[in-house]
Amino acid sequence: MNRRDFIRTSVGAGLLVSAYPRSLFARFRAQERRGTMFDKIWDAHVVANLGGETDLLQVDRCIGGSPTQVMRLVREGVELRNPEMFYNVPDHTVSTSPERYDDPSLGWGWQAYEELAGEMRDMGFTKAFGQSDPRFGIMHVVGPETGLSQPGMVLCAGDSHTCTHGAMGLISWGGENSENILRTGTVIRRRPRTMRVNIVGTPGPGIRAKDVILRTIAQLGTDSGTGYAVEYAGPVVRALSQEGRFSVCNLAVEMASPTGMVSPDDTTYEYLAGREFAPSARYWDQAVEFWRNLPTDDDAVFDREETVDMTGVEPQVTWGINPEHAIGIGERIPDPDDAPPSKRATYRQAIEYSRLTPGEPILGTPIDEVFIGSCVESRIGDLRAAAAIVEGRRVASTIASAWVVPGSNAVKAQAEAEGLDRIFRDAGFEWRESGCSKCYGSNGDYVEPGHRCVSNSNRNYIGRQGRDTNTILASTTTVAASAIAGSIADVRTFL
């Protein structure tokens, strides 16, 4: 008798239950779970324990199942399951040029996508949104914005910034190949440990969610989340708008946690209400009642707790080559010789690559390009905040390129209805179509070699925005202020 046959017998099952009580017993108490939000959602999705800390989980949403992948599997005769759980947007590969709808040479393969997406929709995979679909946009903007991402779900995708969706009060992670999810509707996953980051204090003027998470990563380090699912909590997170919470969770993976979360509350439900794929009126009250049981209970115990105090923290900007290299706008570029020994080599490499001078203030560092967009902060509230900074002002003449790339076609339409596009254009910005764009330079949109770009995106790795380019990460409003100043600027002087 092999191991699997053995555990199907009552003796084997008994042993299994005694060995792994948490995940198995919890399934029979669906309505009365207590503990952390993570544990409640995880336990409710366990199909089977596969030994040790590894579980087979039901998947509620998957961003994946691209037309090519679906076609290939169908051609192989594979039976695909639960097509309603999938959605797909070719966000990484489209051009954001306004000519993209007419010029097939822009972006990569969008015509093929449109063609195949039609076939895919005929098979029941109805949520394949090409670049001209009103629901098209960056996948991590589209999911919440269309109501596909809802509290209490398990959501997987290939893209590493899938952690963004956790701000809805769900478990999400990237790095998942969707092929086996297409086949089975399930995923095998080792249960991570839980960490709560309590963000406290009184943020000063000009501080946005992006500053909160950059500060958090600078304090805790880029490796701090390894092996953990992180819940961001505390009064500062509670006070954030739903959009701000997306920004915070978006950078969870930059502290090495594939999963970031915020407990849902009325802010979340208000954000979700009325969206296309949100629960219909028929189920809305039932859904909200269900969701109210999800937040972490007061007596819940995390494997690790950290506290970040935002009192007195200045707007954050990065000087180096990973998001941990964030400092306050009034601080000086650090000297690698003064760095902790374990970080000295990276600091040296960062200084060499960024061509910045240790000891100099970061404020006033000259920049060549400006980018506002990406799955961090490209939602309507972010664009409104940036427009408020640039209104009636002009992008500095020394800036070679200043782009605003809305996170989705819906955000773009809303911004245009409010006249934000005109404010940006009048100030000298280029107003683009939606997509991932220059956040990572490989869809035809990239930062020119040798240029330094101040960007509201999430990664400042070597070459991220294009070969030999240097990225300074900051909040959307700091980026907007820097565009006007022509150099890294303190947004507080623009308020």
Partner: protein, 232 residues
């Protein structure tokens, strides 16, 4: 069904290329790949992993084109894989967080196409790491100091081959104690058997998953309640 590449043991030349946080984009620019999407992934059916040796002619693409070639198209002699004996390298000693980014499958396919069978690094981008197994490229995670030491030894005598043994979970090189490595047991068994055991394991629980989804449809009808369903 559930075809899977096989990997048991490999011996070959190792090349050090230790740039940290190297994006998958710089291994295989996604733009070039997607222009041929039909050819690579649909019309051709199978992805060609042995492209460089097929009929003695090169039918694939080189990895790291931005490092390998200068802007004028000439080979950059400073790039490690353009130098002897590393031209024939099949084991890459890479930097931490290797292959991070968003389009890793292309990167893995290209590395296979230019002859790579193993990448040894202190850490990998999580998606890249998973995709490696799907295309039979073995990702070996070792402590940064150990990778440094391997790179030093390779630098001192580049022509001596290295062996990576998945069955015994060791990296070996003459004159050096075998270096053990750890790897996900499911991934290991899939590669050793040439069968996607993680898929088989999931299919084994198919009935349970179906029953659970049926219960879930009653417990949380709203997550299955898209506009598609409302019309029915």
């Amino acid at each position: 069904m559930s075809r899977h590449p096989r990997f048991v043991r490999h011996t070959g030349i190792a090349a050090p290329f230790r740039q940290p946080d190297l994006e998958s984009e710089f291994i295989a620019p996604v733009g070039e790949e997607l222009r041929d999407l039909h050819a690579v992934h649909l019309d051709g059916g199978d992805v060609r992993l042995d492209a460089h040796r097929h009929d003695g002619s090169w039918t694939g693409r080189h990895a790291f084109p931005g490092f390998r070639y200068r802007p004028d198209g000439a080979e950059d002699p400073d790039f490690v894989l353009n130098r002897e004996p590393y031209r024939d390298a099949s084991i890459l000693l890479a930097g931490r967080n290797f292959g991070q980014g968003s389009q890793q499958a292309f990167a893995v396919i290209r590395l296979r196409q230019c002859g790579m069978r193993v990448v040894i690094a202190p850490s990998f981008g999580p998606v890249f790491n998973d995709d490696c197994f799907d295309f039979g490229l073995l990702p070996v995670t070792l402590d940064e100091r150990v990778v440094d030491e391997l790179a030093d030894r390779v630098g001192a005598s580049p022509g001596i081959a290295m062996t990576v043994d998945l069955a015994r979970q060791v990296v070996e090189r003459p004159g050096m104690a075998p270096v053990p490595f750890r790897i996900d047991p499911r991934r290991r068994s899939s590669l050793l058997q040439g069968v996607d055991t993680t898929l088989l394991e999931r299919l084994e629980h198919e009935a349970g998953a179906d029953a659970m989804r049926e219960r879930d449809r009653r417990l949380r009808p709203w997550i299955y309640d898209g506009p598609d369903h409302r019309d029915r």
